[in-house]
């Protein structure tokens, strides 16, 4: 074996082993060095989406895959109704950044196949769907005893919340103890595999 091949082998073996070590040490997998919780490759959070809507992100198209009746009752600002299994009614362009949402998490692959649309620039599923939006954007809360990181996240969410007419709340100790919003566990937010 030449010196070159040996060097490549050692490099690959060590980088590969280290990759296994760091992802076992800090579960969260790919590219989550910044954000603490696991986010699937093609999911976005409600806060991120709110940011995009507020900033009028170019090419943003928000699609509601619930029934048209549900859409009429309530939908995200700027979203269009595109019921799953319905006739494809929305034309998407190559530059569009598509966000699809339902009541809760949804299967992005299934939703995109149902849209029968050309390849768009990017497509994302909204994490925890409408429920996520209601919890995180419309009704953000700061529990008593939160750390500075949580406080900073809350400040950002609160600002967005007020923009969309939501009600951010800072809870005191007793209120915090009584507060039982379902915290999404990582297994629940994971997109359904098969």
């Amino acid at each position: 074996m030449t010196v070159l091949r040996r060097a490549l082998l050692v490099t690959a073996a060590s980088l590969g082993s280290l990759a296994a070590l760091v992802s076992i040490a800090s579960p969260g997998g790919r590219g989550t060095a910044e954000s603490g919780s696991k986010l699937n490759a093609r999911e976005i959070t409600s806060i991120q989406l709110a940011d995009w809507i507020k900033d009028r992100k170019p090419g943003l198209r928000i699609l509601d895959v619930r029934s048209a009746a549900d859409f009429d009752v309530f939908h995200l600002p700027g979203s269009l109704s595109a019921p799953l299994g319905g006739p494809p009614s929305i034309e998407l362009g190559k530059r569009d950044v598509v966000v699809v949402y339902s009541e809760e998490d949804l299967d992005l692959g299934e939703a995109l196949a149902s849209l029968r649309s050309p390849a768009v620039a990017e497509a994302f599923a909204l994490r925890r769907g409408l429920n996520g939006w209601l919890d995180e954007v419309m009704n953000p809360v700061l529990l008593a005893g939160s750390n500075t990181e949580d406080k900073a996240a809350f400040e950002k969410a609160a600002e967005l919340s007020r923009y969309f007419g939501g009600v951010p709340r800072v809870l005191d100790a007793t209120e915090s103890a009584a507060f039982t919003r379902k915290k999404p566990s990582s297994s629940e937010t994971r997109r359904r595999g098969c």
């Binding site: 091949r5 490549l8 649309s117 390849a119």
Partner: protein, 170 residues
């Protein structure tokens, strides 16, 4: 078996690492990988679009390339591939017009293989939405499920049928 013409080819592992760095550059700069069959599909889509526009708009395959041939990124990338391949061969003295085949094989046999092979590859790439570059290599590096399924299926069937075409290389 050394090359039949020009300078010897590069060390395969070194060339592979080079190829991997090119792929990584594509991810970092463009946010997407490499490809080849996409350019063919875009060309076909444009052709059909010119001939019968409604047909192209209905096809689940062609509708994925609505921008036209000269607006698809992959077309420019493949043009680069042609240039890069030529440049490398030119520098190494490996450019020669020929029909590459085994010393005892006839030219028509080899051309028949290339014709048939090309057709199968075109059809397969449409079904799979990619080829060895766009799906197996790019998706393989991103640990895409479909890419690994495609890669394993490709190698399995290639090994199964390769003996049938061995005569072109004897």
């Amino acid at each position: 078996m050394g090359p039949d013409r020009g300078r010897a080819y590069a060390d395969p592992y070194l060339a592979g690492v080079g190829l991997g760095l090119v792929l990584l550059t594509a991810f970092v700069v463009m946010g997407r990988g490499l490809g080849a069959s996409g350019a063919f599909a875009s060309g076909a889509a444009s052709l059909v679009g010119m001939a019968t526009p409604p047909y192209a708009a209905q096809s689940p395959v062609f509708v994925r390339y609505p921008d036209g041939f000269f607006r698809e990124w992959i077309v420019f990338e493949l043009a680069g591939v042609v240039l890069g391949g030529f440049l490398s061969a030119k520098l190494a003295g490996r450019v020669r017009v020929e029909i590459e085949r085994g010393p005892h094989a006839s030219a028509p046999r080899r051309m028949l293989g290339a014709f048939a092979g090309g057709t199968f590859m075109g059809v397969g790439a449409v079904f799979a939405r990619g080829c060895t570059s766009g799906l197996a290599l790019t998706g393989g590096a991103l640990l895409s499920v479909g890419a690994w399924v495609f890669m394993l299926a490709t190698f399995a069937s290639a090994y199964a049928v390769a003996p049938l075409f061995r005569k072109s290389w004897r």
